[in-house]
Amino acid sequence: MLGFLKQPVVVTAEINMNLVALTVMGLVNRLWALSYPRAVVFDEVYYGQFVSLYMKRIFFVDDSGPPFGHMLLAFGGYLGGFDGNFLWNRIGAEYSMNVPVWSLRLLPALTGALCVPLAYQILVELHFSHCAAFGAALLILFENSLITQSRLMLLESVLIFFILLAILSYLKFYNLQKCSPFTAGWWFWLLLTGVACSCAVGVKYMGLFTYMLLLAIAGVHSWHLIGDQTLSNVSVLCHLLARGLALVVVPVAMYLSFFYVHLTVLYRSGPHDQIMTSAFQASLEGGLARITQGQPLEVAYGSQITLRNVLGKPVPCWLHSHKNTYPIRYENGRGSSHQQQVTCYPFKDVNNWWIVKDPGMQQLVVSNPPRPVRHGHIVQLVHGITTRYLNTHDVAAPLSPHSQEISCYIDYNISMPAQNLWRVEIVNRESDTDVWKTILSEVRFVHVNTSAVLKLSGASLPEWGYRQLEIIGEKLSKGHHQSMLWNVEEHRYGKSQEQKEREVELHSPTQADISKNLSFMARFTELQWKILTLKNEDTEHKYSSSPLDWITMDTNIAYWFHPISGAQIHLIGNILTWASANVATLVYVCLFLWYLLRRRRKICDIPEDAWRLWVSAGGLCVGGWAVNYLPFFMMEKTLFLYHYLPALTFQILLIPVVLQHLTDHLCRYPGYSTGCPAVLISGDKSSEMMGFLVPAPALILGTLHYVPSVITLPCLAEENYSVNACTGLGKVNCSPV
């Protein structure tokens, strides 16, 4: 009972001092003088505005990626007590006192620092020597581009951190797989892999490619597992299910949860409302919700409505008409009907109001009880202010001659009869008797006589149409397109039969209250779709570059420039690291192909174990480099040097891998080519040291030359130093800002 007295309680702690040292070095390196400069540096101007919007809880859409990255940055702002009041308009603007620069930059710096021990661990888990691992970590530690990118409020270092974490946890999991499956540790690392993957994807979509790589590796390993006939069918199935759960289900759930948090936190309407559908806008506080609150839900005969085009491209707009008529002849000589123009107008206006009328009755008010309009009903649409009927006929539209002109009918007493009957088709109906609902229903108007469909063509009318957007009747409707769909945004039951009273009624704001809430999945789907399809205008940037420039580092980016002292921050890589990383990649690929072809001829140059190690390490590092680099060739957006950093990280990890392989196998056994001895004693200390020693000169040279450009500038600048900071640095650094 008192056994512990006889045998003392012993806690044995094993601390890998390498790891500790690397972590400390990383932290010092990344965190030192973090809040310098107190000015907006490069893309901080971009991410900053989203942080501010988060602080103010205002909804936004960012097409550059999913919201998790922005959320992390905003979390830093939250910890620092940032109130969001800063105008992010210019690179180089001084931060005001309320901006917690240090805490905003803390998270990227921390993740950047942790990449160093992660790199060490990854190489250890790949069964490389501690020396090689240490070398890899040092290379990461002293890579200036990574340092620069980590010390600012940017997302690349966060992305790299999650990618490396995912790789490391998968390796840990895989190494546990052999001895102890289904233990707590096994589950922990497996789940962590999934979580890290989803975080990486959540920060930037580039993370998706690493996730795919890991899935592919896991697939290959699972395939081996299926072939392992010592396992029973049931246990194989359990293994596969566990992987499916952790690597597919968990990431998807995590990804959804990012959006859940995003949509929960951002509940106020804001600058990007317009691109969302009316239903989405109505779910935000303020903005449209204030107007639509309390509208009647069901559209009835006599309803006064505004109709918004569902597509929202090129700009969101509402069906509109005004007193002016189409010109008798267009510039190209074609004629028009000279009737009243119908356009799509991107602003709220009293001329956007239309009244739904029953063709069989004269009244323009809602009867009591209201008679709702259902799918398939025939209606007339009366323009509220001018009381003219929406009409289309066999006259070519102003800009799209293959389609019909849409007009508001004016009876000129020529042989052109009114054709103003429209069939209401609710596209997202659940049954054929669905009622036309405000905001929720997406409706197509089919002309009864000609079966033309009311459509937004996307073209802007010339001067005579006030540059509003053209509305056409598309005769041959080729399938569904959102530009043919309309939804009711503002809505009220009309009460005044007299034209004058009605005008007053139309000018008065709508009111009443029922709130419509979309489900989370509906909002998620819409937001996700907008993020993926929203295209910013193709921009050209002074420092943009093509992927080919990155390998040789033919490009750099001036991040910041102090107008008085001349102090600068540049994003530029350590040229020696980049060059040796390229060489390592090349050597790896050549050697791999050589071994592969020779092995096919049953000639084994290296033992089986070493080969497996070589394949797995190379698959990870070269594969990681390829999946993070090659996709950029197919992207059409503006690219910058910093897009290469995740790929570079993988390339750097490859340097010690190749070096250790060279020293272990090629330098020591030059004539080793015949037969396959079962065991090869791994290299002794001296050969292991090679993995570390060879990059050392690169490190020393590189850091001497380049570290000043990012680290020493702050302290020099503090002494009010006015000499051009570039003096003595590499030539590339000196390009004028």
């Binding site: 299926i226 069918n233 597509l311 399938g479 049953k602």
Partner: protein
């Protein structure tokens, strides 16, 4: 010898009990499991077969020795992948169980009948409708261009159109029909020759598919199923009946696959005559496929992957010496890379040699290129060599397919920079492309005979005056209309009097200051003096107000791109002596390269417009929407390109089925399940042969998801060919597997009736839908009186 084989063998597929099956096999006249039952049901009855001939078809026509089609190859069976020597190999399968068919009748008769059916279905009502249908307006027109030898530009390589032109020429078409728009009547012009040529190639697809499936699966019924799918598919028929590139492309594509499959089966006797024949035929077909459309690259990829796999297997075969391997490698490099390249280049040589007259395509090409064309104003002309002040010039952007610097009386609309005169790049020749070079500081008339000639030199500051409107080329710090980060370029000033923003420094790339500037040869850069930006063409199309011409901007980013370089093309200066430009004629490799760049640019320029409804790749396999070939209204003769829905949905289901079967099989094998000989053979057909076809389908379908250009339904047809062949193989395998699991007679019946049912289904659905291809007149399908009433199964079909 057939009998002997039968008596030694023991059939394993139908019954696992050797005794009873042996009894079956030996019993004279015993009715054996017979794929030809299926045939007898719905096809021409075969000649009576001798006893024993009608046995199972799994390996019925195994072996090239008995295959009358094509040269004979020694291999009785498709080469299996060689296992590395160290690994234990599975025991070799027992001798073949199934006697082959009486070869000549058994293979020739079905081949002949399907060929006959195929030709009949494609040539039936070929001349209807007697007016231009759909893309005939393009390809027919291009055929005419070849006959007239007029130069034109198209985004596809020339072979297909050359063949159309040749067919037209041989059949007596004289190239005078204008092919202006769909619906134009042909009248007395002879168009049947061109249509007949395309229909002929389209008809060949069916026998090709038959032979490919036969070679891969060794099963007659699988081959027949695949062939009948293609015969009775309304889409394939429609697409083959008109003057289009698709039948030609598909002909070469299937030809390449067929010869690839054939040379694979000759692998046991490498370097034999048939081996060389099929290998080089593959190369020839590849050249043909890319020569028609760039989509042919996918089949090149398929053959490439197959070859890499092939070489990998050979490499693992330790019995082959390195020298032999080298020979194998060289043979493939020669036949599959060099030969197609040579042929492909030869097509272009013919193309350029035939088209030697100026035509509508000139403006897309560089000045030097145009000087080759008879009738072009650059052909055999002589112009002054060096630019002088007072010269009237046109400037052409050096981008591939870049336009001429152009201006016109129209102003930039309000809200787009300053409201000054538009400056654009225009692809066509026009008087508004003319500019006069003036000194920046004086407005003297240099053409005045009293003035001496003064040459423009590198580094001079000049002013460019638009000849028609007398406005100066001008730039200022307003944003350009499309590329917002660039500066706007306008025409400014009255009668040549402007301001300091009209000054440009003229520089020649790679030249020292003070040198003269040459016509055509010098690559000129115009730097705006006040802002330091460079005149360039962004390549973006302006909206309606700019007449959809190309935007010209002044870029502040100094980068060496052809966008910012120009050359002088026309040059008029009466005071200077003219020299001949013949020296400028480009060499063949140069024009080859240039025409490719222009084609690639043209292809990527086919972007869908905003708010335009376009066909999406996911629509295609589900036959979501077809294409109107001819006719819209009730009174028109309407032809609608739409796959036979039954066939297409069967294909779609089969792809899922195949994936399921392949996954099950491969997992079962990986888990070490003990397969019977028959099942393991079936699985090999499924994985190996089916895999090749599946790969072909993927390669011809998936890349479309990544394409940014406008896509059409007919792009799916090459993939559909593969999908149909896969259907043949998969259902045959599935039914055989089911049959193998059941008892002997039961299994036979399942197999026979299964195949019969499938074929009847296909024929019946063709009967229902055949008006789609052969023309519909009368009320639309939505009308209950229409013959197609009730057949509009999807709302998106428009017939």
């Amino acid at each position: 010898t057939l009998r002997r084989v039968r008596s030694v063998a023991f059939p394993t597929c139908l019954s696992l009990d050797p005794a009873s099956s042996r009894g079956d096999a030996l019993a004279p006249g015993a009715e054996n499991y017979n794929s030809h039952d299926a045939l007898r049901g719905n096809q021409t009855p075969l000649p009576a077969m001798p006893y024993g001939a009608d046995s199972l078809s799994l390996d019925a026509v195994r072996g090239g020795a008995r295959l009358p089609s094509g040269p004979r190859c020694g291999g009785l069976r498709q080469r299996r992948p060689r296992r590395p020597a160290g690994e234990p190999s599975r025991p070799s399968p027992p001798p073949r169980a199934w006697a082959p068919l009486e070869a000549p009748v058994g293979v020739w008769a079905p081949l002949a009948s399907i060929t006959l059916l195929s030709f009949a279905s494609r040539f039936y009502r070929l001349s209807e409708p007697p007016h231009v249908c759909w893309d005939e307006t393009h390809f027919g027109k291009m055929g005419s261009y070849y006959i007239n030898r007029t130069f034109f530009f198209d985004v596809h390589p020339p072979l297909g159109k050359m063949l159309i032109g040749l067919a037209g020429y041989l059949s007596g078409y004289n190239g005078t029909f204008p092919f202006q728009k769909p619906g134009d009547r042909y009248g007395h012009h002879n168009y049947i020759g061109m249509r007949g040529f395309c229909a002929f190639l389209g008809s060949c697809l069916v026998p090709f598919a038959y032979l490919i499936v036969l070679e891969l699966s060794k099963s007659l019924s699988a081959a027949l199923l695949a062939a009948s799918i293609l015969i009775f598919d309304t889409g394939c028929i429609t697409l083959s009946q008109y003057i289009l590139l698709d039948p030609i492309l598909m002909f070469f594509l299937m030809g390449a696959v067929l010869s690839m499959v054939k040379y694979n089966s000759c692998a046991v006797r490498p370097f034999s005559a048939p081996w060389w024949f099929w290998l080089s035929l593959t190369g020839v077909n590849l050249a043909g496929a890319i020569g028609v459309k760039f989509v042919g690259l996918f089949v090149v990829l398929l053959v490439g992957l197959n070859t890499v796999y092939d070489l990998w297997e050979l490499l693992g075969d330790l019995s082959l010496s390195l020298v032999t391997l080298g020979k194998h490698l060289l043979a493939r490099v020669f036949c599959l890379i060099l030969l197609p390249l040579v042929l492909y280049t030869a097509q272009f040589a013919v193309h350029f040699a035939v088209l030697n007259k100026s035509g509508p395509g000139d403006g897309f090409f560089s000045s030097a290129f145009q000087s080759r064309l008879i009738g072009n104003n650059l052909h055999n002309v002589s112009v002054p060599e060096h630019l002088a002040y007072g010269s009237v010039i046109t400037m052409k952007n050096l981008r591939m397919a870049g336009g001429y610097l152009h201006s016109h009386w129209h102003l930039y609309p309000e809200g787009v920079g300053a409201r000054q005169q538009q400056v654009t790049a225009y692809l066509h020749k026009d008087l508004n492309n003319l500019w006069v070079i003036k000194k920046h500081d004086s407005n003297t008339d240099h053409l005045d005979p009293s003035c001496s000639v003064e040459f423009v030199r590198h580094g001079d500051v000049i002013r460019l005056e638009h000849k028609e409107t007398s406005r100066n080329l001008h730039s200022h710090q307003h944003e350009a209309p499309m590329t917002r980060k660039h500066f706007q370029v306008t025409g400014y000033g009255i009668n040549g009097t402007g301001d300091a923003n009209d000054f440009w420094r003229i520089e020649v790339v790679g030249r020292k200051s003070g040198k003269r500037i040459k016509v055509l040869r010098s690559q000129i850069r115009l730097t705006h003096l006040a802002t330091g930006c460079i005149l360039g063409s962004s390549g973006k199309t302006l909206p309606k107000w700019g007449w959809e011409q190309v935007e010209v901007t002044c870029t502040p980013y100094v980068k060496e791109t052809p966008n910012a370089l120009w050359n002088v093309e026309d040059h008029i200066n009466p005071k200077l002596p003219n020299i001949s430009l013949d020296v400028l004629k480009p060499s063949f490799p140069e024009i080859l390269l240039e025409s490719h760049m222009v084609m690639i640019r043209g292809n990527s320029g086919l972007k869908p417009k905003e708010n335009e409804v376009t066909s999406k790749p996911w629509h295609w396999p589900i036959n979501y929407q077809g294409l109107r070939f001819s006719g819209v209204n009730e009174t028109d003769y309407r032809v609608y390109l739409l796959g036979n829905p039954v066939v297409w949905w069967l294909n779609l289901v089969t792809i899922g089925l195949y994936l399921l079967m392949a996954t099950c099989t491969i997992v079962a094998i990986k888990r070490g399940a003990q397969l019977t000989v028959c099942v393991s053979e079936l699985s090999e057909v499924l994985l190996h042969s089916g895999g090749k076809i599946m790969l072909g389908w993927l390669l011809h379908y998936l890349p479309f998801f990544m394409m940014g250009r406008v896509l059409y339904f007919h792009h799916y047809f090459p993939a559909m060919l593969f999908s149909s062949m896969l259907t043949g193989i998969t259902w045959d395998t599935l039914l055989k597997f089911c049959a193998g699991c059941l008892s002997c007679s039961m299994g036979k019946r399942v197999y026979t009736y299964g195949m019969l049912a499938l074929m009847l289904l296909i024929v019946y659905s063709f009967y229902l839908f055949h008006p789609l291809s052969y023309g519909m007149v009368g009320p639309m399908a939505s009308d209950p009186n229409s013959p197609m009433a009730g057949l509009r199964w999807l709302e998106s079909w428009e017939f």
